[in-house]
């Protein structure tokens, strides 16, 4: 019974979660309606590349939904119908051309309350403030506000330049002409599940909380999964007030089907009886640490994991519990559902620490047999392009690090309810709430391979993420990992108040010249990121 802040939040959640959402008010533009309680979880619309190119137009807009929540939706128009958050499917080497129109209207909750007043003033600047001088260039940074947005391709190992995957200076204002992202998936990239979401500093939480996210899948042939029915499940989390210390009314959603927080009709996943299935799960929540289990009847099922964070495991491995931090992905093969049986998908909860956010256990979905083939046909699949050369990050384990660095997460709060300042700091530097016009905290160069040890000195868990690359998890709490895996997001548990700080040691691969530039690393609990738990790294060209 040590989790006092969490206790309070849960108590208040308990008091609030039964409340009816506030009445929806008419507001344009309208997001597509989202499925009601107890709906079948349906895969998002797939958009496939054609002849090596995927050309897609998305509009980000917002509106209060019938559930009372403020929705932020990526809208794709499919045969005259608005469709939300399609899955982008490409092969290695394909070109992605994404035209994003920002149509955000009248957002509320202008300032995340966890940022102090003075910090707000400083934190809302992007880049070098050239925006006011050249307001027509979204690549020049400037003031970021509640109507601003941009886009991050989470996990893709692509260039940190404007129009590709750059979030420091790229800022698209509502009403700007469509902004084109144009990037090529590396031909030697790993097939697996990635995702896209907005990343405007200070407002990421609000937009992602509203549902602005979608899956991006790099295709690849795998004899273990070819021909299996594929489920793409995007788990989101929506709060009535994304930036409130109090949890308030909130729920997880599975492809937008709400999961009742305490009890109520569950989302339904239709599974084929007697056949394995291939599930790709994305944790697109703003702060939920998921610990997934699948039960048939009362029996916990082994799940054969084939990929983490988009990267195939060298050896598929069976687990009964899958820990997925915010922003993490896991791809696995589900055992056949026995005839006459139903099942449940649940999260066991996660102890985020004495001052962490509530992260309770929940039953998330009911597994029911698919009838007459409904939802049971395999997703359309194509032969993936043959990868060229060695896979990204090949041989990283055997590389000799060119540098060792130590970083740590920490927090400063003025009271039990915040506002809290969140830091990620290089040891030897002073803790600092991130501003977009900060100089890089770390400078390195193309060709470097570095080992970073990252501690958590806070009383709550954090989730480390770095843009543009995957890292190899070399050690946890100083203990070497026997079979390191590549990830782009990793949980670092809370400090318990005594003893060594929890830590991970990550091998960073800066050998790819394509990632030269300046990008960010941060905590992927998004209100932590918005409140400053982020820093820049500058990767200079080798010469």
């Amino acid at each position: 019974m040590h989790d006092v802040v969490k206790f309070l939040r849960i108590v208040l959640l308990g008091g609030l979660c039964g409340c009816a959402p506030v009445g929806a008010s008419a507001q344009l533009p309208v997001c597509p309606p989202r499925p009601p309680l107890q709906s079948v979880v349906v895969n998002p619309l797939d958009l496939f590349s054609q002849n090596g190119v995927l050309n897609v137009d998305l509009t980000l807009q917002n509106a209060v939904g019938s559930d009372g929540y403020m929705h932020y939706c990526y809208v794709y128009v499919n045969q005259g119908q608005q469709v939300e958050a399609p899955t982008l499917r490409l092969n290695p080497g394909d070109q992605l051309i994404l035209n994003l129109t920002n149509n955000i209207r009248a957002p509320y909750d202008r300032y995340p309350p966890k940022i102090s007043y003075a910090q707000k003033i400083k934190a809302m600047h992007m880049g070098h403030m050239h925006k006011a001088e050249t307001p027509s260039d979204p690549c020049d940074g400037g003031m970021v506000g509640p109507s601003s947005t941009n886009l991050h391709f989470h996990g893709l190992n692509i260039s940190p330049t404007c129009h590709q995957d750059e979030v420091i200076k790229t800022i698209i204002e509502s009403g700007d002409p469509p902004f084109q992202f144009n990037t090529q998936i590396p031909a030697n990239d790993q097939p697996g599940m990635y995702w896209y979401h907005p990343h405007p500093h200070g407002f990421t939480t609000t937009q992602v909380n509203g549902g602005a996210s979608g899956a991006l899948i790099i295709e690849g042939s795998n004899p273990l999964t070819d021909g299996l029915t594929e489920h793409v499940i995007v788990i989101r989390q929506e709060f009535m007030n994304a930036n409130s210390w109090l949890p308030g009314p909130n729920s997880l959603t599975l492809n937008f089907v709400p999961v009742p927080p305490l009890h109520g009709p569950l989302p339904i996943i239709k599974a084929q009886t007697g056949k394995q299935e291939f599930w790709r799960v994305l944790n697109a929540s703003t702060q939920a640490f998921l610990t997934l289990q699948l039960e048939y009847g009362d029996t916990v099922q082994p799940l054969e994991v084939i990929a983490l964070d988009g990267v195939p495991l060298q050896m598929p491995t069976n687990y009964t519990t899958l820990s997925v931090p915010p922003a993490g992905r896991v791809e696995f093969i589900v055992p056949p559902l026995p005839s006459g049986t139903t099942g449940t998908l649940l999260t066991l909860g996660y102890d985020t620490g004495p001052v962490g956010n509530p992260n309770p256990a929940q039953v998330m979905a009911k597994i029911e047999p698919a009838m007459n083939g409904m939802q049971s046909k395999p997703s359309p699949r194509r032969a993936a392009a043959t990868p060229i050369g060695a896979k990204r990050f090949a041989g990283l384990k055997l590389q000799t690090p060119t540098a060792q660095r130590s970083l740590y997460f920490s927090e400063e709060t003025v009271g039990t309810n915040g506002p809290t300042s969140y830091f990620i700091t290089v040891k030897g530097q002073r803790p600092h709430v991130f501003h977009m016009d900060d100089p890089p905290a770390i400078t390195t160069k193309v060709g470097a391979v570095e080992d970073w040890t990252i501690e958590n000195r806070a009383g709550e868990a954090h989730a480390f993420h770095i843009h543009q690359l995957h890292f190899l998890v070399m050690a946890i709490n100083g203990v070497p990992v026997p079979n390191p895996v590549l990830q782009d997001t990793i949980t670092i548990p809370n400090w318990t108040g005594s003893g060594p700080y929890p830590s991970v040691t990550l091998r960073m691969d800066f050998r790819d010249p394509n990632i030269a530039g300046t990008f960010v690393y941060h905590c992927h609990i998004l209100d932590h990121e918005d409140a400053g738990m982020m820093a820049k790294i500058q990767v200079n060209p080798a010469n």
């Binding site: 019974m1 040590h2 006092v4 208040l12 007043y117 909860g349 130590s406 740590y408 039990t416 309810n417």
Partner: protein
């Protein structure tokens, strides 16, 4: 499931001990068998509406000089509701700095009220409200008083309410004034001495008011603190004022122990001087516990030789040597991490001493958690050295808490 089990067990625990508390007997002070006046430590339990009404709990000081203790006596339910948390530096209960003080004032942040408690009868003497606008439902209501007026800082409405103190601990609301930091920040904390009321804001600024006529009148000295100007991570929070009224001392919310001192002998704030009392996280060996994180609460010892600092987020307490003639502070000592940090409690907050003279003898510190508790430390100081050692009888658990104790008070209180 573990989370819900914890919740259920916690609620059951609270309900059980609350029932026991109602049946308890009030403390017996100054009985014939105990010629020395007893010292009581009193908590604002800050119970939120979801778990009942707010209360204050009484603990009696005891034990031996080397192993001091606190013994729970009773709980008085005061009718309103708390919020179970808020700003560290906000003082949620207060009395006149007088061993003969009759009245203790307690804030009910959830219901927006100030409750008067008669210390002789240990009974509530009345519940008083400010204007309809006054609210502190998110981060609390702070209290400060002199012989004539009580001031209540409402942290949500950003107002300071003025009440006239009447016989029988009664209050009469006069008015409220809107306040705000230079950069728009809300009010964190306040302290008063003579005609000056000193305030800290959430935006790094500080300000003083003249209260000679009762209602606070700005002195026109609002300023960003020096610590904030140096590093915007430093936010002046809790305040104490030296006995002679010459120095206002601010504990900063900061990443290491930082305090600031302003000369107020002119009746206005002068620019603050910054004192860093811990190495902080930038000079710490790997995996070592830093000397302190966050220093929002400060409290002078009765003889003003020591300044106690709660390191709110690292579960330790620091003492610095204070020079009341110059207002300067020099590094002293830091306690070990107090028992129960992060399990079951999460933050340390306000402090009081047992004795009303000397260095205070024993330091009590509020430990915010479920359950909350009071840390007990012996104070040793000779020459330029000091030691803060936790008693084997620490902590004293507050059985009546549905959210957390941030503010404690001692009776008899320190004489300034």
């Amino acid at each position: 499931m573990k989370m819900y089990l914890r919740l259920l067990l916690t609620v059951a625990f609270i309900v059980a001990v609350a029932a026991a508390g109602v049946a308890g007997s009030p403390p017996q002070k100054g009985s014939a068998a105990d010629p020395a006046p007893a010292t009581y430590v009193i908590t604002n339990d800050d119970a939120s509406a979801l778990l009942g009404q707010n209360s204050i709990s009484f603990f009696q000081a005891g034990g031996t000089p080397s192993a001091p203790s606190l013994t729970y006596q009773t709980t008085l339910f005061i009718g309103g509701t708390g919020i179970g948390g808020g700003f560290f530096g906000t003082s949620r209960l207060n009395s006149l700095p007088d061993s003969g003080a009759q009245c203790l004032y307690v804030s009910d942040a959830g219901s927006g009220a100030v409750v008067a408690v008669n210390l002789q009868t240990q009974q509530a003497a009345g519940t008083f409200f400010g204007s309809e606008n006054d609210a502190g439902t998110t981060n609390g209501i702070g209290l400060g008083l002199n012989a004539n007026y009580l001031y209540a800082s409402f942290t949500d409405s950003n107002t300071i309410g003025t009440f006239t103190i009447l016989p029988g601990c009664q209050l009469s609301f006069v008015n409220d004034v809107s306040v705000g930091g230079l950069n728009g920040g809300t009010i964190y904390a306040m302290a008063l001495s003579g005609n000056i009321l000193v305030v800290s804001y959430a935006d790094g600024s500080i300000e003083s008011f003249n209260i000679g006529a009762g209602t606070p009148v700005p002195n026109g000295d609002a300023q960003n603190s020096t610590g904030y100007v140096i590093d915007y991570n430093n936010l002046p929070d809790g305040i104490d004022i030296s006995q002679n009224g010459h120095y206002a001392i601010f504990g900063d919310a900061a990443v290491s122990p930082v305090v600031e001192v302003s000369d107020i002998s002119s009746g206005k704030l002068k620019p603050t001087t910054v004192y860093r009392l811990g190495a902080g996280p930038t000079a710490v060996a790997p995996n070592a516990v830093v000397s302190g994180v966050n220093s929002s609460n400060v409290r002078l010892s009765p003889d003003e030789s020591l300044l106690f600092i709660s390191n709110n987020q690292s579960g330790t307490v620091t003492a610095g040597f204070f020079n009341p003639a110059t207002g300067s502070i020099s590094p002293g000592c830091t306690s070990a991490t107090l028992s129960g940090f992060y399990s079951p409690w999460a933050y340390v907050a306000s402090m009081v001493t047992e004795n009303t003279s000397g260095n205070g003898g024993v330091l009590y510190v509020a430990e915010f958690g479920v359950p909350s508790s009071i840390g007990i430390l012996t104070i040793t100081s000779t020459g330029g050295t000091c030691r803060l050692a936790e008693s084997i009888n620490s902590p004293a658990v507050d059985p009546i808490t549905s959210g957390g104790v941030l503010s404690i008070w001692a009776y008899p209180p320190r004489p300034f």
